[in-house]
Symmetry: C2
Subunit: 213 residues, 2 copies
């Protein structure tokens, strides 16, 4: 049982591109952060539901596959679900379509009250205003011995890291310099001292850095 | 003939630790940035003049050796020479001892007028208030067909990068989070688009990232 985080960041540490808009909710630089992750066979299968077998199968795909393995419950912020984009629409079912790629219980942290949303593939979103610590503890129960993922967005991940809740942090560092946006590492001085840190370079040029307890 | 930069940075991009003092002129975190570089056989030979053969000989040492190869002239800021620490002592000969590891002409950028300093091993410091662009052009002449290094400190390197003067940037990224100090990448958005970027992980865990034109 471990609490896990996976993030795509730039070489300058940006995890959340600047200037999101309703048309481009992740910001214009999002594609530059996640291009190699989205190119993997696993991402195409799990998120795009592309069953053609297309996609890369190297180191990036190994990490993408690991991302989806062994997770029993997830915690995410309201923005990652999509609440901030359509805050006044009670019927808005988030960004994730009819087959959300989670397939486990997902606790969405928000101060708005909303009814849970269940999907045929096992994904069940529930909405809660509890603290990140309480949410991770409850997700641990829901995961029933499997791992818990703190999925995002950036502020949710950073609060979990600052609270010492994360057992394994994997960052896929794409060698681009974005120069603006939300940075992962700010105010996390000496975070490395709580972990063993290992790195691996993918064929794409992405550097996979893993902090493990 | 290429203009080259080598820097040690943290995973959060800090190249110049915070809070330098006269006793600890590079800041208390300096050792955490450069530990693996200073452990190399090449560094020990070239900077500490340790001829015992001690030191690491893996990937980090390969980069350390490359650092010293093929350089015909160097440009550095006043702080890297040491002028800021003893600004009023005209006899201060810098941090570098009687055998400075450069062994080539070094242009030190400063608005103070000082006489050149020559050493038996070929190192010759001259002091100039010219622009970084003019200094690099003049160093290129002095290098006589060999490469020019922009050695540091951080502001000198950043001005050279911003001016598009650097042909090859090598950063040794040590997987530590310092959280404070001067950061390399700020305001260098899209720097990667001018280069081919490659990465390699050393036995020490340091990630060597090279931007080459």
């Amino acid at each position: 049982m471990a609490v896990r985080v996976d993030l795509n960041i730039s070489l300058d540490g940006v995890a959340m591109p600047a200037d999101p808009t309703p048309e481009n909710p992740m910001g214009e630089d999002w594609g530059r952060l996640v291009a190699d992750y989205m190119a993997t066979k696993t991402f195409r299968e799990r998120v795009f539901r592309d069953t053609s077998g297309a996609g890369t199968t190297g180191v990036d795909d190994r990490y993408a596959a690991a991302y989806f393995e062994g997770i029993g419950a997830e915690v995410m912020g309201a923005a990652m679900f999509g609440l901030h984009s359509f805050p006044d629409d009670p019927d808005w079912r988030g960004w994730w379509g009819d087959e959300p790629p989670f397939e486990v219980p997902v606790i969405v942290l928000t101060h708005r009250e909303r009814a849970p949303l269940s999907f045929a593939n096992g994904t069940r979103f529930e909405f809660s205003s509890e603290s990140i610590t309480d949410a991770v503890a409850r997700a641990t129960d829901l995961a029933n011995g499997a791992d818990v993922r703190v999925g995002g967005g950036l502020s949710t991940v950073r609060s979990a890291l600052a609270a010492g809740l994360v057992d394994r942090l994997h960052v896929a560092v794409r060698p681009v310099i974005l120069g603006r946006g939300g940075r992962l590492w700010d105010d996390l001085r000496n975070l490395d001292e709580c972990y063993t840190v290992t790195s691996e370079v993918a064929e794409s040029g992405v550097v996979h850095v893993t902090f493990a307890r």
